[in-house]
């Protein structure tokens, strides 16, 4: 029997081509994803391992990072990492040396004042010269290390981007005014943050400390061990040398590298899982095609299979022989897919690393055994699963069918049961969607969407008739007889038409859903910014760290500014809890943001009172009008604040608002053990209204007021809206690209169905040609049928996509008030048009084949 299976595969090579391609694409996607993420992960790990090779033990002070990035250092009593601590560690018997590290962010302006690199990965650190005057961690490419407060060294990539040479003056900014520094050296670095698109500025240690922390304080101390010292033993020594009551984290370099490896593995796993979802969608689409192919093959081979039964093959043998074909095809396609996927991964790596210079680390391709198993296993499993039903059907062919005439029986099994199941599924799914959307239950919506999709797939044969009828008047008018024949052909086997269309429906549904959600979110964001934010400009840091407090005063004084307000986050202690206050300018905030009140008046701010939101902090009791709060400020002073108003939930600004004049003086944390920690306490953003609305002049004035700091961004409402739009657009584009694969697979399905239909109907085609249908008419008939099938898939997909987007919008409404369903008609019409074009393209080859059929051969065909 297995020989029969092999012979069948060989005999039907051409007819199995599309099926093989469908499986191939799906497995290529799977294999490509796995190979690419494994490769990336391994490259990152090896890069990571390099950066920790010379560190035996590292001690870091989490408090330092908090104060630098302004995320609120409040515990000022804990000890910090000082030069004393570093010296003590360096003197340990196992330590060769201990390097004090200061790290923060530093924006570097290019010749036009623009920030080099991306705002999030700008890095600033200290340069630690060794006995020979150079720092081994940052090998000099050119020049020398920085030695004074007016000097800086840059990494070579940044220097190149900015066009800087040693001796040039470089504009460097932290969070205040820009510093003009002399470039003394260009260094090399392996820091992944820098190679991933950031920049590195190295200062001498004292300068770095005063910029980021306070003199004599470090973020981190890295210790090298003496030869023969065990890392773990050194760690114990180091821990013993640390001051009591610290909350430092001390780890061996190996431990740190392992932790990083774990994080990298998590990150690449997340990425691979996200991509595998799309690969899964492609494979799912493939199932429809495989099932269709095997159904058609079994139908075409009815007599042959019956003959096998007649000469004594058992039902099981028939099933097994069909499944053996599936295994064979699955295996061939999967192995090819594995190769193709590896190729894709290699191409992607080249594209991202060499062509686009994204700074991702390079490394050899990793083809893990798990990848091979997963790709081939999935490919074979999917093929066999899809062939299961057709194989079962094949076994039910009665031996008598071998003796019947060549004419295929036109009888079709009733769709009654199928329709009933479909209706139940679709209704249940709809119910779940509606209920989930109303109650904001994500799981219910997801399940509902899946069940509705399934229900519609089951119902598609039923739906195909009215939907195809929708397009027929047009077809008949435009194309006459071929139009009518196309319609009849599309309807003659509703199951086949449905399966082919459904493959396309999946992709169109997801694409439409995403598009509608994107359009809805865009509109909601536009509306919110238009109604809630009345400020003309928002000034903030590019890396979301805090602005220096001075920026607020400078902007208030800038020419053309009619009103401005800071937005400052200050954490206060209320009993044992921490509460965040937002300091705003009591006099102007009302003209910059629409404050909608539920109770009380916004003017309460002017009287030194708080405005609060309700239901904001889960677990804590809501504050009511008139409540009084006993707070302890970061500087240790105590105060009493009264609630003077309650903000409505759709207010333009929510949270706990306080007059900035009242809380700003207390926002700097109290002096710690050494120096004033939290010198960086500052502003989240500054809102500005111009005397004459937004203008280029005002924008320039604001930029000037901030001292041209490249890290500070001045954005108009339009900029903010564009930014959000752009983010949504680029996210959609990535999704479209990933879903594109499933559409390609669906197109293969259309090609496959049309080619097989042409083969099955070659006798009819021969007759039509004989009685006078010309080649063009034949081509047209095939093309129009394909068009109808694709349009069916497109229409269903667009409908389902809008439905699912509607349900998803219900979920998003809690985080985006005012979100309404926006159905972009042009884009959806575009998708339908694309489906039509896909249908026509998919039919090109089958239509050509149909038109070229030899009349006499076709008529005589069995």
């Amino acid at each position: 029997m297995y020989r029969t299976a092999l012979r069948n595969v060989l005999a039907h090579k051409a007819r199995l081509l599309m099926t093989t391609l469908a499986v191939l694409l799906g497995t290529a996607f799977v294999a490509g994803t796995l190979v690419f993420t494994d490769t990336l992960g391994s490259a990152m790990k090896s890069q990571n391992a390099k950066s920790y090779t010379d560190i035996a033990v590292t001690v870091s002070d989490p408090e330092s990072a908090r104060s630098i990035y302004g995320s609120g250092g409040t515990d000022s009593s804990a000890p910090v990492l000082t030069e004393d601590v570093r010296r003590k560690i360096a003197a340990l018997p196992g330590a060769a040396d201990a390097r004090g590290v200061v790290s923060g962010f530093a924006g570097i302006a290019d010749q036009h004042g623009r920030l080099i690199g991306d705002g999030f990965s700008t890095t600033g650190t200290n340069y630690v010269p060794g006995p020979d005057g150079s720092d081994a961690r940052y090998p000099l490419v050119e020049g020398r290390g920085p030695t004074g407060s007016g000097e800086v060294a840059l990494d070579s990539r940044t220097a190149q981007k900015g066009g800087f040479k040693v001796g040039d003056t470089v504009r460097v900014a932290v969070n205040g005014p820009v510093m003009q520094l002399k470039l003394t050296g260009i260094v090399h670095t392996n820091d992944p943050r820098v190679s991933a698109g950031g920049s590195l500025a190295a200062f001498d240690t004292a300068t770095a400390q005063s910029l980021y922390l306070s003199p004599g304080r470090f973020s981190e101390v890295d210790i090298r061990s003496r030869p023969g010292t065990d890392d773990a033993a050194l760690l114990t020594q180091v821990k013993g040398a640390l001051p009591a009551g610290n909350d430092f984290s001390a780890q061996t370099g190996r431990q740190l590298a392992q932790d990083q490896d774990k994080m990298i593995a998590e990150a690449t796993k997340g990425m691979s899982q996200a991509l595998l979802v799309f690969a899964g969608i492609s494979l799912f689409v493939g199932i429809f095609i495989i099932a269709n192919t095997f159904t058609m093959l079994v139908a075409q081979r009815t007599r042959e299979l019956a003959l096998l039964r007649a000469v004594g093959a058992s039902r099981k043998q028939i099933t097994r022989s069909v499944l053996a074909e599936a295994v064979l095809i699955g295996a061939i396609a999967s192995v090819a897919g594995l190769l193709a996927g590896t190729g894709i991964a290699a191409g992607l790596q080249w594209l991202l690393i060499s062509a686009m210079d994204t700074g991702l680390p390079d490394g050899p391709l990793v083809i893990a055994p798990a990848t091979v198993l997963t790709a081939v296993g999935t490919g074979v499993l999917v093929t066999v699963l899809a062939a299961w039903l057709p194989a079962r059907r094949a076994s039910r062919i009665s031996p008598v069918a071998a003796m019947s005439s060549g004419d295929q029986p036109a009888t079709q099994k009733s769709l009654l049961l199928r329709n009933a199941i479909g209706a139940v599924l679709a209704l249940a799914g709809l119910g779940a969607l509606a209920a989930g959307s109303a109650s904001k239950a994500t799981g219910l919506v997801a399940a509902g969407a899946g069940v509705v999709l399934l229900g519609v797939f089951v119902l598609t044969p039923l739906l195909s008739r009215p939907l195809i009828a929708l397009f027929t008047p047009l077809l008949r008018r435009l194309y006459g007889m071929p139009g009518k024949l196309a319609r009849e052909n599309a309807l003659r086997n509703p199951r086949r038409t449905a399966a082919t269309a459904s493959a396309l429906t999946i992709g169109v549904t997801l694409i439409t859903g995403l598009t509608v959600i994107g359009a809805s979110v865009n509109q909601a964001v536009d509306k919110a910014s238009a109604t809630d934010l009345t400020a003309d400009y928002t000034v903030a840091m590019a890396n979301f760290s805090v602005l220096s407090s001075d920026v607020g005063t400078q902007i208030a004084k800038a020419p053309g500014v009619s009103a401005s307000s800071v937005q400052r986050s200050v954490s206060v202690r209320v009993g044992d809890d921490t509460k965040w206050l937002t300091g705003v300018n009591a006099d102007t905030i009302g003209s910059l943001v629409k404050l909608k009140m539920q109770e009380g008046s916004a003017d309460a701010l002017k009287h030194g009172q708080l405005l609060v939101s309700q239901g904001g902090d889960p677990g804590t009791q809501d504050l009511k009008l008139g409540d009084t709060l006993a707070v302890t400020y970061p500087d240790g002073t105590a105060g009493r604040l009264t609630v003077g108003g309650v903000l409505a939930s759709d207010s333009g600004l929510t949270g706990t608002l306080a007059p900035d004049a009242l809380i700003a003086p207390h926002s700097k944390p109290a002096a710690g053990a050494v120096g004033a920690a939290g010198a960086m306490a500052g502003l989240d953003k500054v809102l500005v209204k111009g005397e004459h609305g937004p203008s280029a002049q005002l924008k320039q004035a604001l930029t000037d007021a901030t001292g041209g700091n490249p890290l500070i961004t001045v954005k108009s409402q339009q900029d903010l809206r564009d930014e959000s739009r752009q983010m949504i657009t680029s996210m959609l584009n990535i999704m479209y690209g990933l879903l594109g694969m499933s559409v390609v697979v669906a197109v293969l399905g259309v090609v496959n169905t049309m080619a097989m239909s042409v083969f099955e109907r070659r006798r009819e085609i021969g007759m039509l040609r004989a009685i006078g249908l010309d080649r063009r008419g034949v081509r047209r008939t095939v093309r129009l049928e394909s068009l109808l099938i694709s349009l069916l898939g497109g229409v269903l997909g667009i409908g389902l996509g809008v439905l699912i987007a509607w349900a998803a919008n219900g979920l998003l409404r809690s985080s985006l008030p005012g979100l309404e369903l926006v159905v972009p008609p042009l884009q959806l019409a575009g998708f339908l048009l694309a489906a039509a074009v896909i249908g026509l393209l998919a039919a090109l080859w089958p239509a050509r084949r149909a038109a070229r059929l030899d009349i006499l051969d076709s008529i005589k065909a069995a």
Binding site: G480, R763, L768, A770, D774
Partner: protein, 253 residues
């Protein structure tokens, strides 16, 4: 001027028609210099043992196959050298076909199948003629049935009606009774004969059944690609006799 004279009488004809398949050792001469005419308003049967070239003759005459040399005509139109498009149009407008396996479109009902050639041409149906044809084949009550709801004989009657519905110059029938039982076959043959006698059509039928041939006005015999004999007003017996002589000759030679 003789050409014009014959064209008036002949619905179709071939002169020196040859058809050769293959080359060298595999060369097979299917038709060898056949010259024949099918007169208008006549029911002609083409007979001959299998491999005699009778089907090839019909296919070449009907524009389904191309001749190697010689000429074929339908009405006044020379087929040789005609491009595919013109051939298609000629088949659509001037030729009717009846095939052995009924060759109906399963998706269309009986009436739609009958009017298919006109629908393809985008021509209006001559309703009076159509009614007459439908009436003659006795399908009046079954016009909305699909082929799968009709018996083999009924399907073949639909095919005959389709061949006649566009009032072609000539109808070619290729073993029209090959797939039918003798009763249904008889009905079809009577119908073809009636279409000649009552509707004035021209029918050429390929068959190997002497009984079927006996319905024709004239039988021409082919053997080894050559026209070897002709009978007018045949009976089943006279045709059978003629066939036996071929067999005997085949055995002795």
């Amino acid at each position: 001027m003789t050409m014009t004279a014959t064209a008036v009488h002949a619905a179709a004809g071939a002169t020196g028609l040859s058809k050769v398949y293959g080359e060298g050792e595999t060369r097979v001469v299917a038709l060898d210099q056949v010259t024949v005419e099918f007169r208008r308003g006549e029911f002609t049967a083409i007979m001959g043992p299998s491999g005699s070239g009778k089907s090839t003759l019909m296919h070449c005459m009907a524009g389904l196959d191309t001749a190697t040399s010689g000429s074929t005509r339908i009405g006044g139109t020379e087929l040789v050298g005609l491009p595919d498009k013109a051939l298609t149009k000629l088949r659509r407008d001037q030729i009717g076909f009846v095939f052995q396996a009924f060759n109906l479109l399963p998706t269309l009902n009986a009436l739609e199948n009958i009017t298919l050639p006109m629908d393809i041409a985008g021509r209006k149906v001559d309703q009076a003629w159509l009614d007459r044809v439908v009436d003659t084949v006795g399908l009046s009550g079954r016009l909305t049935h699909r082929p799968s709801q009709l018996s083999g004989g009924q399907q073949q009657r639909v095919a005959c009606a389709r061949a006649l519905a566009s009032r072609p110059e000539i109808v070619f029938a290729d073993e029209p009774t090959g797939n039918l039982d003798s009763r249904s076959g008889g009905e079809i043959l009577s119908f073809l004969r009636n279409s000649v006698r009552e509707l004035g059509q021209t029918v050429v039928m390929v068959t190997h059944d002497p009984v079927a041939a006996s319905y024709a006005d004239r039988v021409i015999f082919l053997a080894d690609g050559r026209l070897v004999d002709e009978l007018t007003m045949p009976t089943a017996d006279s045709v059978l006799d003629r066939m036996r002589r071929f067999d005997a000759k085949g055995r002795t030679s």
